[in-house]
């Protein structure tokens, strides 16, 4: 095999393995697969295999360091308030509408039910809207 191709593939494998770390982002994920599918979670080590049709909706929430009442450092899931609407048509993405708050903004919203209601009330731009 061509040495340049081997070098490129080696770099790719190294780069892929470099991704095996604690998640640093809050990620919303939707997926649909038809066929054979194998995935390994680089955070938990969980392996998922599917044959045929598979549909998943996941949210990847990283942990943040917090301090409890005793002054001890703990790991806690990141705060988030979100509303999402994802429309799928014929296996393709048709429309995505999302509204969310994260971190301190989410904690502040959680104290005010009215504010949460505003965040969770999704609005979709109309077809007649100018680009």
């Amino acid at each position: 095999m061509n040495s340049k191709l081997m070098a490129a593939l080696s770099f790719l494998v190294a780069d892929l393995l470099a991704g095996c770390a604690t998640p640093s982002h809050l990620v919303f994920h939707q997926s649909t697969s038809i066929g054979a599918d194998v995935a390994a979670n680089t955070d938990t080590g969980h392996v998922h295999a599917a044959f045929g049709y598979d549909r998943q909706t996941n949210t990847l929430i990283p942990k943040t360091k917090t301090t409890n009442d005793n002054g001890e450092i703990e790991q806690e899931a990141m705060s988030v308030v979100s509303a999402s609407e994802v429309k799928i048509k014929w296996l393709g993405l048709h429309e995505v509408t999302e509204q969310f708050a994260t971190g301190a903004a989410a904690r502040n919203l959680a104290r005010d039910p009215r504010a949460i209601g505003q965040v969770l009330s999704l609005s979709v731009p109309s077809d007649s809207a100018k680009p």
Partner: protein, 130 residues
Amino acid sequence: MTKDAEVSDVYGVGALLRMRGVDGGFTLGWRHATYIYPRVSSDGAAEGTRWTIGWVPRHTADPFFLAIRSVGAEVAKYPAELRAHVGFRMDAFTFAACIGESRVVKFSYRPSSPRQTRLSMFPTPHSIHP
């Protein structure tokens, strides 16, 4: 490009090698990826559409949103997972915030009307990724 987002559709067929980015990997077959970046309003770029063939302009930041459709065989690194599949696959990722980041976001996107993509963030982003 809209007033607050930059939408990039990348079509590929054949053997596709992505050495970096949030979807680095190798695909053999057909692939369509949509990358949406928050736009900093003061960048002065004009709204409009630009086409390129054979190469993709590299963006300085990672995307806020990523949608992928592929048919064929693929090995790729996605957020927090390594994945291999044969057949059809569709993924949509929203990279909402960095760990611990305080942010309020409103986002809407239709593949059939990319010019109507809306992405408002508070605080406004320079890059959602560190």
